[in-house]
């Protein structure tokens, strides 16, 4: 018996699936529908799938360098088969190790958790949830994806140049990143890295401007800003952060390109490279780059985190069958985080010799972020309180997100306090902190979003059992990988070391490193299981048979099960209330499109 036949044995339910959208009958070829599509839903899927490809590559890179950390003395002959000169004798070389670490960081931060996360869900959800037929500029939206695609191709090509990809860490601090003579990775590999990143910034700006324009101008009738679902608020602030901070990063990169190729001295001064001699550059400041970089780099953390927060708020509320607690406080805290995100960049630079007074201001502002973050956590907890919780896979990941956000957020209080940061800066403590709070937590937000909106994307469900296995292994594994790293940090163990065996102070963690590497491999394998579930379910998953499978209030669930380009057949629905009328007046939920009744208790 085929999967299809069993799963869809329900009589009379599958009809409406194909009976949707006959409204917009412009002729579509394969190229305009799947490749150069201007439909926001298709562009979202393009972002998602490209992001997944990068997530697999980036994850695989981490498995490879964890292999070196976990088994520093072992040799794996198959590594030489696939990596050639980068793994002579079956052991990853130091330059390959640093290239892997650098590319893993760059790819995960920008290509997966920025493009893959906000690219996917901003595109998919903004028009559907504000009630618009498409983005303000579908063409610009298409360009945004294709700039991302070209950036991806350039970044990928940098893996294959003779001197290797860039290997100076994802933050690319000059002079190391500026001088090919200081590191082979800073030769052609770095040029390609910079080109890829510049294209990526263009992609982000095209996308971000579009998101902002759509949210501000294209909301349907009745959809005031305070009736927007929190997803949209979060994506809005994300886009604003990106539009205001990415140009600063680009300017930093352009100066770096000038220093590398045109003999300027923006970042270079007083440098003597062994084997080359004294460089002619004088008067530049290496620290200037760090200011420019972190002026984006810190908001970037929130560019990654906010969309996850928005989706988690939405999913927690839907599956608790309760309104999100403190809607206005949630919007307010998003706003506060977005503002503060611009005012804390130098907390990455406490040990650069920063003016101590300036440092103290950044301590104050950094710890201030903990206040809106605390508000969000307590509001999520209160949303669960006295709910009637359904553990859909999306909901599981949303709960997992809150857990990880707490764990990783609290260590931010350690690192944001400069006097403590002096000790913990650039140790494994930092790795544990940002992987939990921004890496894994945002990944969880992304998974929550994928499981929750998959029925809207493909008209089918993901397999639940695989979803549950995916969740439990991933959350347990994530904690097992990153929790012990706090202790390595408390031992002062520095980041980005290829080998610790020569260090009297850091060589006591051999067993722990092996444990972490093993868990990392298992967790990676389970992500492959998720990918399999994803692609299998596109074609063979259980079909969605009702328009609103989760019983949600928002507009995307009023559109046909598989909406065509234009989203709604006929008129765009009108909105009469906020998005969180769950469990009100004894009703399970009241869609946003339902007019307010005269007998309703209180109204938002």
């Amino acid at each position: 018996m085929s999967n299809e036949a069993v799963v869809h044995a329900h009589p009379g339910l599958a009809h409406e699936v194909h009976g949707d959208h006959h409204e917009h009958h412009h002729h579509e070829t394969f190229i305009t529908k799947y490749v150069f599509s201007q439909d926001h839903k298709m562009i979202a899927k393009q972002f998602l799938i490209t992001g997944m490809v990068w997530a697999v590559l980036g994850g695989l890179m981490s498995v490879l360098f964890r292999l070196q950390l976990g088994y520093p003395d072992a040799t794996f002959p198959w590594l030489e088969d696939i990596l050639g000169k980068w793994a002579k004798g079956g052991r990853i070389s130091d330059s390959a190790y640093y290239a892997l670490v650098t590319t893993h960081g760059t790819v995960l931060v920008f290509f997966v958790l920025t493009a893959g996360l906000s690219g996917t869900f901003a595109n998919f959800l903004i028009p559907l949830q504000v009630g618009a037929r498409d983005m303000a500029s579908p063409f610009m939206n298409m360009l945004s994806y294709w700039f991302f695609f070209i950036a991806s191709v350039v970044m990928l090509s940098s893996l294959f140049v003779e001197t290797g990809p860039f290997s100076g860490g994802w933050t690319a601090y000059p002079p190391l990143s500026a001088l090919g003579s200081a590191s082979p990775g800073s030769k052609t590999g770095m040029d390609l890295w910079l080109i890829a990143m510049a294209l990526f910034v263009v992609s982000s700006l095209l996308g971000g401007l579009n998101y902002i324009a759509t949210i501000l101008n294209m909301r349907t009738k009745g959809m005031s800003m305070t009736r927007l679902p929190l997803t949209i608020w979060a994506l809005f602030f994300t886009a604003v952060l990106g539009v205001l901070s990415f140009p600063v990063l680009l300017s930093g990169f352009i100066l770096l390109i000038f220093d590398r190729n045109f003999g300027t001295s923006f970042y270079l001064s007083d440098i003597f490279v062994s084997g080359v001699g004294a460089l002619p550059n004088e008067g530049g400041s290496a620290i200037l780059y760090q200011h420019l970089f972190w002026f984006l780099g810190h908001p970037e953390v929130y560019i990654i985190l906010l969309p996850a927060m928005g989706m988690v708020s939405e999913i927690l509320s839907i599956n608790s069958r309760k309104p999100i607690f403190g809607y206005m406080a949630m919007v307010g805290s998003l706003f506060a985080i977005a503002i503060l995100a611009f005012l804390v960049w130098a907390h990455h630079m406490f040990v650069t010799g920063l003016n101590p007074f300036l440092g103290s201001v950044f301590v104050l502002l950094t710890l201030l972020i903990a206040v809106p973050s605390a508000i969000k956590v307590f509001n999520w907890l209160t949303t669960l309180w006295r709910g009637n919780i359904r553990f859909t896979p999306g909901m599981m990941f949303a709960i997992g997100f809150v857990s990880l956000f707490i764990s990783g957020g609290l260590t931010g209080i350690w690192l944001g306090n400069s006097a403590l940061d002096i000790h913990l800066h650039d140790t494994y403590f930092v790795i544990a902190h940002f992987h939990i709070v921004m890496g894994v937590a945002s990944m969880f937000g992304m998974f929550a979003g994928v499981y929750h909106w998959y029925p809207k994307m493909y008209g089918r469900y993901l397999n639940n059992t695989l979803g549950y296995i995916h969740f439990w292994v991933t959350i347990a594994g994530a904690y097992m990988i990153f929790w012990p790293m706090h202790y390595q940090g408390l031992a002062g163990m520095p980041r980005r070391y290829y080998d610790y065996s020569n260090w009297e102070s850091f060589k006591q963690f051999v067993e722990l490193n092996r444990f972490i590497s093993t868990v990392a491999m298992i967790v990676f394998a389970v992500q492959i299981l998720f990918l399999f579930n994803f692609f299998y379910s596109i074609f063979k998953g259980r079909k969605v048979t009702s328009q609103n499978p989760w019983g949600a209030t928002t507009l995307e669930w009023t559109a046909p099960i598989r909406p065509g380009h234009g989203n709604w057949t006929g008129e765009i629905p009108e909105v009469h209330r906020w998005a969180y009328d769950y469990g009100k007046d004894g009703k399970d939920f009241i869609p946003q499109t339902t007019p307010v009744g005269s007998d309703e208790s209180e109204h938002h």
């Binding site: 200081a182 010799g353 009637n388 809150v402 695989l466 097992m480």
Partner: protein
């Protein structure tokens, strides 16, 4: 072959998991989607609680296994570092409390309020009192942490005590160099264009500056127990970082921009060997800022001794000037070789040029 086998086993596991998952969908259809959903809900609700309990046990076990391997059991090896540690404990107490409280609430709520037939979700959209409570409490707590933190910060970044000795630390790919000002207590001038590794001038000292003639360049940093030391930190090439985990201190080495750092060593290396119970203990200076492919091997060593031992060591050191110009050394009063003379003349010329430029 083993490689092939491993892949086969992994694929097999995948197939088994996938078949189970597929079968569960069939079962769901047979039992009715709603019934099986509710069953799954119960299982996952229970697992939430199980995860909380196992997780907290895991946190305890992790601490039991790893605490002894951190720096915390022995305390800080510098006087200032004690403040870092005490701050760390206060922060741990506060964040630890919040951690336990919120994680317990999260998973307990998830378990407690799982879907039940007769349960109705409580419509509770907002409460200003609650919002106010969890705005003010974190704000006050953080104020305490900020006050403690900034007091320490200004102490660490402020001026060292008057009796502090001064050592200049210079990073290069991939090792560290240390310079002592010598008897006059003043460093001679240096300029990066004068760097000349072949002729014993890795720091680019200006030989015409007499102040620098007694400067000592060493490969190991000797410090005195109980005497504050101020490090003047620089780099020859890329950004490095002076990491001193046992002293709880750290500062970047930036080319072109000198930075400083000070602390007071509390224990000699010998004492630390006893305290840690590790006969091989050394104070290591780790590079904590990615600086190239040899980053992981950029190790410096520090020897903390008492004043007496330090004086003996210092007396044995030859100044950098005399190392570069052995003929000037009264200890080996041989006639000067021609080559050194020209070298000296050459450096002098560059020095003059560079001063003119400045």
């Amino acid at each position: 072959m083993t490689m092939f086998l491993t892949i086969a086993v992994i694929v097999l596991i995948f197939v088994v998991i996938f078949q189970i998952a597929k079968a569960s969908e069939y079962v769901a259809v047979l039992k009715g989607a709603e019934t099986s959903r509710k069953q799954n809900n119960k299982i996952n609700g229970f697992l939430m609680l199980a995860f909380l309990v196992l997780g907290l046990i895991g946190v305890w076990y992790c601490n039991k296994e790893l605490y002894g391997k951190t720096l915390l059991p022995h305390g800080s090896a510098s006087v200032e570092g004690e403040r870092v540690d005490s701050m760390l404990w206060v922060t741990l107490a506060l964040t630890g409390l919040v951690f336990i409280l919120t994680q317990v609430l999260l998973f307990w709520f998830a378990y407690k309020y799982q879907e039940k037939e007769n349960r109705k979700a409580h419509f509770f959209p907002h409460s200003n009192t609650l919002e106010l409570i969890w705005t003010i409490i974190p704000a006050v707590t953080l104020t305490i942490l900020v006050v403690i933190g900034l007091r320490n910060w200004f102490l660490f970044t402020g001026e060292p005590p008057k009796n502090a000795m001064v050592v200049e630390v210079t990073g290069r790919q991939f090792n560290w160099m240390y310079r002592y000002p010598g008897k006059d207590g003043t460093f001679g001038k240096k300029y990066f264009r004068n760097i000349d590794d072949a002729n014993n001038n890795p720091l680019g000292l200006l030989w015409d500056d007499a102040m620098g003639h007694d400067d000592v360049v060493a490969q190991t940093m000797y410090l005195v127990k109980g005497r504050p030391v101020k490090l003047i930190i620089g780099s020859r090439d890329v950004v490095h970082d002076v990491g001193l985990p046992q002293f709880r201190m750290k500062m970047d080495a930036v080319p072109g921009t000198p930075t400083t750092l000070w602390f007071t060593p509390k224990y000699t290396t010998k004492e630390m060997r006893e305290i840690t119970g590790n006969p091989n203990f050394v104070y290591e200076l780790s590079c904590d800022q990615m600086c190239g492919n040899g980053h992981y091997s950029m190790k410096g060593s520090i020897e903390v001794v008492d004043q007496e031992e330090f004086d003996v060591w210092m007396a044995k050191q030859k100044s950098a000037y005399l190392t570069a110009f052995p003929d000037k050394d009264p200890a080996n009063a041989k006639p000067a070789a021609d080559s050194t003379k020209t070298a000296a003349a050459k450096t002098e010329a560059t020095a003059v040029k560079s001063t003119a430029k400045m």
